[in-house]
């Protein structure tokens, strides 16, 4: 298992990790509810890290602070060593509710990030078509969001985030509004995309199975106040058939281990 994990790693020796996102002492209070307290985290480059925890643990708040969409009360977020406090071109966000423009076609929605940056129409549409194909939506370029299923809409959201060529993709419970069958297929695609795209993914989820299935690294957050309670690196070989992972012994053990840890927070 150890060997399998290392084969996917950036180097054969576990050197000090190369962090693309560094979170230092982040805290956030809403009214008198302490959502996050003193969060210190490093997100390794080229890996998929999940933020996992029960509802109310501040995982989405933390993701939105990293995205620059919410201002933290204290602490800093640095991307590639540079402190940030607003959205930037090195990060792209995938929204839980998709956030697609209903009046725009799939093509325009996917190209929207580039449109805002002033990329010429021909160039941005060419890039958008490539990513539409990449997420498996070729042939749907001229459809409107209401003509697509939930799973397909989220693929549009993912393609939009990929097309701006950010280093870090931030995904906020992207599959929570997608039905179970589509979610499975989407998770498999995400594993494949992650190997192809060489990007860093930060992924918020409340599903233990989902986190273990797709993550290189799982950050467990505990609620009230939100703090890092544990960091787990499931060493699962994802190079083979993705179906196989669900029956992998290490996968099942990790799911069980996390559940035992989280149980105390569930009434």
């Amino acid at each position: 298992m150890r060997a399998a994990a290392l084969r996917n790693g950036p180097s054969p020796v576990p050197t000090p990790i190369d962090s693309i996102v560094e979170v230092r002492g982040i805290s956030k209070t809403y009214g008198n509810v302490e959502a996050l307290r003193g969060i210190d985290l490093d997100f390794p480059r080229g890996k998929l890290t999940s933020l996992l925890g029960p509802s109310g643990c501040g995982k989405t708040t933390l993701l939105k602070i990293i995205a620059g969409l919410i201002r933290a009360d204290g602490g800093t977020v640095a991307i590639n060593g540079k402190t940030v406090s607003a959205p930037g071109p090195e990060r792209a966000f995938v929204f839980q509710d998709f956030a697609l423009m209903p009046w725009a076609t799939v093509l325009r929605n996917v190209a929207f990030g580039l449109e805002l940056r002033g990329t010429s129409r021909a160039e941005r549409e060419e890039i958008a078509r490539r990513y539409i194909a990449e997420v498996g939506l070729a042939g749907f370029e001229d459809k409107y969001p209401h003509e697509l299923s939930g799973g397909m809409r989220q693929r549009v959201g993912l393609a939009r985030a990929l097309s701006v060529d950010a280093d870090v993709l931030l995904l906020d419970e992207p599959f929570s509004a997608v039905d179970e069958q589509n979610r499975r297929k989407f998770q498999e695609d995400l594993i494949r995309l992650r190997t192809n795209q060489n990007k860093t993914f930060i992924f918020v989820t409340h599903s233990i199975e989902e986190a273990v299935y797709i993550s290189d690294r799982i950050v467990l957050l505990s609620p009230r106040p939100g703090r890092v309670s544990q960091i787990i690196e499931p060493e699962i070989d994802r190079s083979g058939d993705p179906e196989h992972i669900h029956r992998d012994k290490h996968y099942l053990d990790t799911v069980e281990e996390i559940w035992q840890g989280l149980k105390q927070y569930v009434e």
Binding site: A67, G68, L69, P87, G88, P89, R91, A92, F93, F95, D97, A99, M101, P102, W103, F112, G113, E115, L116, R117, Y144, P145, H146, E147, R160, V164
Partner: protein
């Protein structure tokens, strides 16, 4: 089901997001139904005119004859030439001013507090009562008539635009910010398209109110244009001509509203076109 919803929605001049179910193949059917609806109305009119309901109530056929008579002798064209100037000017000014002011009030709190109460009062007031006052201040010319159109059309356009902009989809705003949209891009590419169905509903009401304004002005202020034609034929007891004039302005108002809806679906909300 989808077909009947579509016909109803368009006849009432309402936005019809539910029309997306109608397919291209069934396009001829709504047109047929619409023609039947118009024919039915004309038939009832004809019967009512023949009973007759009142000696001052002409039949549909007499009215049509009178309409072509008015077209032929040029009096209708002359009347519209004079009516359309303040109407078009007033409606266009109200549309741009109304959407502009409404957007500002929707985005900017101070503007909201300054302006919105004024427009709420204006909308609640029986505005026709202002028209003699307008005459008193601005005389009986083009300015007074244009002002009458604006007074009636502007409040509903401002208020609808303001409400639509205030209730813009927050998640799309966050999306635009996260993909580095500038404030101008946010207004042009997210807020206005998202608000356009409600803005256009306001524009349709505003344009209809503008027609009311110009006819009122011509009946109460200056006997010119369509108002004059109506008054003139009434005074001569040419009821068929009077009805023809009234019907013509109703038809023009309806066509304008249908055109506005076409523009909305074409330009702003192509997804509601119905595949």
């Amino acid at each position: 089901m989808a077909i009947s919803i579509r016909t109803e929605g368009e006849a009432a001049g309402l936005a019809s997001p539910s029309s997306r179910g109608a397919t291209g193949a069934s396009w001829d059917q709504p047109i047929l139904l619409r023609l039947v609806s118009i024919a039915l109305f004309a038939g009832i009119w004809e019967v009512a005119g023949r009973i007759p309901v009142s000696f001052a109530f002409p039949t549909f056929s007499d009215t049509m004859v009178a309409f072509f008579g008015l077209l032929a002798d040029g009096s209708l064209a002359n009347a519209y030439l004079s009516t359309l100037q303040p109407l078009v000017l007033g409606v266009v000014l109200s549309a741009f001013l109304g959407v502009g002011l409404g957007t500002i009030c929707g985005l900017w709190r101070t503007g909201e507090w300054l302006l919105i109460p004024v427009f709420i009062v204006l909308q609640a007031a029986p505005v026709a009562a202002f028209i003699p006052m307008v005459t008193f201040v601005y005389g009986i010319g083009m300015t007074a008539k244009t002002l009458a159109v604006i007074i009636l059309a502007l409040p509903v356009i401002v208020l609808n635009t303001y409400k639509a902009v205030r209730n813009v989809n927050q998640s799309l705003l966050v999306m635009c910010r996260s993909f580095l949209g500038t404030p101008w891009q946010t207004v042009a590419k997210i807020i206005l398209p998202d608000a356009s169905p409600v803005i256009f509903a306001g524009l349709r009401l505003g344009v209809a109110a503008g027609f009311v304004g110009v006819v009122l002005a011509e009946l109460l202020i200056t006997p010119t244009g369509i108002g004059d034609l109506i008054t003139f034929h009434r005074s001569r007891a040419d009821y068929a001509e009077m009805y023809a004039t009234i019907a013509s302005i109703i038809a023009l108002s309806t066509l304008t509203l249908v055109f506005l809806q076409w523009v909305e679906v074409r330009v702003f909300r192509p997804e509601s076109r119905g595949a």
